[in-house]
Symmetry: C2
Subunit: 167 residues, 2 copies
DNA sequence: TGTTGACCTTAACCTAACTTGAGGTTTTAG
DNA sequence: CTAAAACCTCAAGTTAGGTTAAGGTCAACA
């Protein structure tokens, strides 16, 4: 019974104001190690109690939720961290902060969706041509900006460089 | 002048039937090392000449183009490899093969686009609520299947487990 | 024919995003 | 008060998708 305030919260209080790493792990569905990792990367923050154990304020739950949502869109952790940094670290963010974040994500998502949609439409055309005629196949010149994100793909062959099978 | 057929093709013929690794690299925009890597992973195939150098048939250009397109959609190499395996390795695929592939990709893309779109729409709602009211925020229960692809995210908190800031 | 440039293989290294393990301290429950 | 569960740190391992380097062979061209 050393952590008076903490223990007070533990006593059947459904809305604790501080959370241990294990509690956060259970509630967010990420492992304890991952929470350590996120903290190391600056995505979340914690206080320490007298015994050097992490104590989180409840906003960490929301932060982790946001991290997961963003990851599912394919946004890398580093970028997520930058966006999260607009939120006051530690304590509760106000409506404005969250709106700011949400709008940022939405823009990112919109852009990704647009890119994928383009790609799909191009592929649809490919289905029509059976990709037999490279001269008219949109695979030839992608015309999008996603390439910059991926590992490779910095050059696209011009029409006369791609193969045209002998019929 | 040892590689008779090969050299014959080299002589100012714009449509060579065999390509060296360097040529493929230039035309596809991926590095030679990456081509080795893809071959090792079974994504592309090659023959060897008398001097043990790789010689590619022209279909490799299209294969690599497809790999890149697929990668931009976020599909992992292993999955790309499986889809590519429906194509006859080495020689020219017919229209049916390519159509089969294109349709497979399109389905994948459609699904990914749908997931991202859902996510965006949920986020749009969040912008409205400012994420201040977790009780109504869609971030709470994602309801999608993308989680299975990511590294973590196997559990989502129920409504009373997420934090509701003190106003 | 000889010298570059293109290729070959093997092996190590790189970033992202984690996971696993070892060895030691704190908290909690009985 | 004590044993077990939860935590701590630090280091090493893992997968994906490549890149870089070392040391040696092959080919193209004057």
């Amino acid at each position: 019974m050393s952590e008076t305030n903490y223990v007070k919260n533990q006593l059947k209080n459904p809305l604790k104001t501080v959370l241990s790493v294990g509690e956060v792990a259970k509630r967010t569905g990420v492992s304890v190690a991952t929470l350590h990792f996120y903290e190391q990367k600056g995505l979340i923050h914690s206080q320490r109690n007298a015994g050097n154990q992490r104590r989180y304020s409840r906003d960490v739950l929301r932060r982790v939720a946001i991290i997961k949502v963003a990851q599912r869109t394919g946004i890398p952790l580093e970028q997520i961290g930058k966006a999260l940094s607009v939120l006051p670290p530690g304590q509760n963010a106000d409506q404005h902060h969250w709106q700011q974040m949400s709008e940022q994500w939405k823009a990112e998502l919109d852009s990704r969706i647009a890119q994928l949609t383009d790609l799909r439409d191009q592929l649809s055309m490919c289905i029509g041509c059976g990709c037999l005629s490279m001269a008219h196949c949109p695979l030839r010149n992608p015309q999008d900006k996603l390439a910059a994100q991926g590992a490779g793909a910095h050059f696209y062959p011009t029409s006369d460089e791609l193969d045209e099978p002998e019929r």
